[in-house]
Point group: C2
Chain length 218, copies 2
């Protein structure tokens, strides 16, 4: 097949997606819902991070959409804590897209204003290419994954509005070159805030939650 | 655009890819090169694992193709150890495919029989969908990423010919439910061998290297 056709198909997919993403964004804004696209590699601690942030939100109402290829392990976990959580399974697809979120939010009853965390598929590549109607993008990375990630996966870092550096409790047991990491981050994304946290100990999440509260305008 | 067109385009891409993958596989077999598709999430320790395996190969000649979206950090590292390493940058693409490998291997001088490690893009989703002409698929995962990975990313586990469980030196400091992990692996991929290793300490790699030697027929 012709490469030109491939490229056209991809361009059409992106244009359609962005169009729907704009609608989702407008709908969310109108409802007073601040939507956060939560991205990160598999096993980076996305759900644990969300749980810790939500614990620190102090009265700001949280909603969660869980994106997974398969399974509802995290949704069951979050619901057991009383958090309004909605599952999307992509059954193979490597990222969430705007049509999926458009469908999901039509089925969610937003009873009050608040924050909607949309946990994307665990993938440091593809999700960064697709807007899903979010207000901001939160990138979660971990010290256990090494300090070279900004150099190897630049798009995710470039497009992040906030970066969460997780698992800092393991710092004493690993080699993580924070200076090299931050140099890479700054080269891609000038003054993006970087919060250091531990999903395990809860360290650092009060600051993240406060930052979200201010950004959300609540 | 129509979903039917999208599906047709994807089917064509896969058919073309598989056709070229067969050629690559035949060429490698003819040259006495045992090709391993090395897959795993970002930061899982793919390059560190390769370095440790190669250290234990004892006379079996190693070649490496490094797949990265951007950067040649790992290639520089491997070459500094005297390992014949060839860089592929995809500049955005989330996985290696057969045409990329077909091009690469035409430019490699395989002076003697041996093992070609093809380090795929750090991604636990998309690489599993594309054959690149490999003889076997090696999936690297890490205890720091949690025990639920087989449940959330089943395809990669289903298609693996061998699984390397890395970073076991961090076991004392984290919660990793090995029984739950192995239950998930066994449900997807009956008797796939699972090797426990530490890229940091070198623990466990003699067994991995010996397994590869036997599989490669050398």
């Amino acid at each position: 097949m012709h490469d030109v056709l491939k490229v056209n198909v991809m361009e059409n997919i992106h244009a359609e997606n962005d169009h729907i993403a704009e609608h989702v964004n407008e709908d969310m804004t109108e409802l007073g819902i601040f939507a956060i696209n939560v991205m990160g590699a598999p096993g980076i601690g996305k759900t644990t991070t969300l749980k810790q942030i939500i614990k620190n939100l102090k009265g700001l109402k949280p909603y969660v959409i869980e994106g997974d290829i398969e399974s509802d392990i995290d949704t069951v976990d979050l619901r057991s804590l009383g958090i309004d959580t909605f599952q999307i399974n992509t059954f193979g697809a490597c990222h969430l897209d705007a049509p999926l979120i458009h469908n999901a939010v039509r089925n969610i009853q937003f009873k009050e204003k608040g924050v909607l965390f949309i946990e994307n598929i665990g993938n440091l590549v593809c999700p960064a290419e697709f807007s899903i109607g979010e207000h901001i993008r939160m990138l979660i990375v971990s010290v256990t994954d090494g300090s070279d990630k900004p150099y190897k996966y630049p798009l995710a870092f470039e497009k992040a509005d906030v970066i969460i550096l997780n698992k800092v409790d393991l710092m004493p047991f690993i080699d993580f070159d924070e200076e090299f990491f931050m140099k890479g981050v700054r080269a891609l994304n000038g003054d993006v805030p970087v919060f250091k946290v531990s999903g395990k100990t809860g360290e650092g999440f009060d600051a993240v939650a406060e930052w979200i509260r201010i950004k959300s305008g609540n």
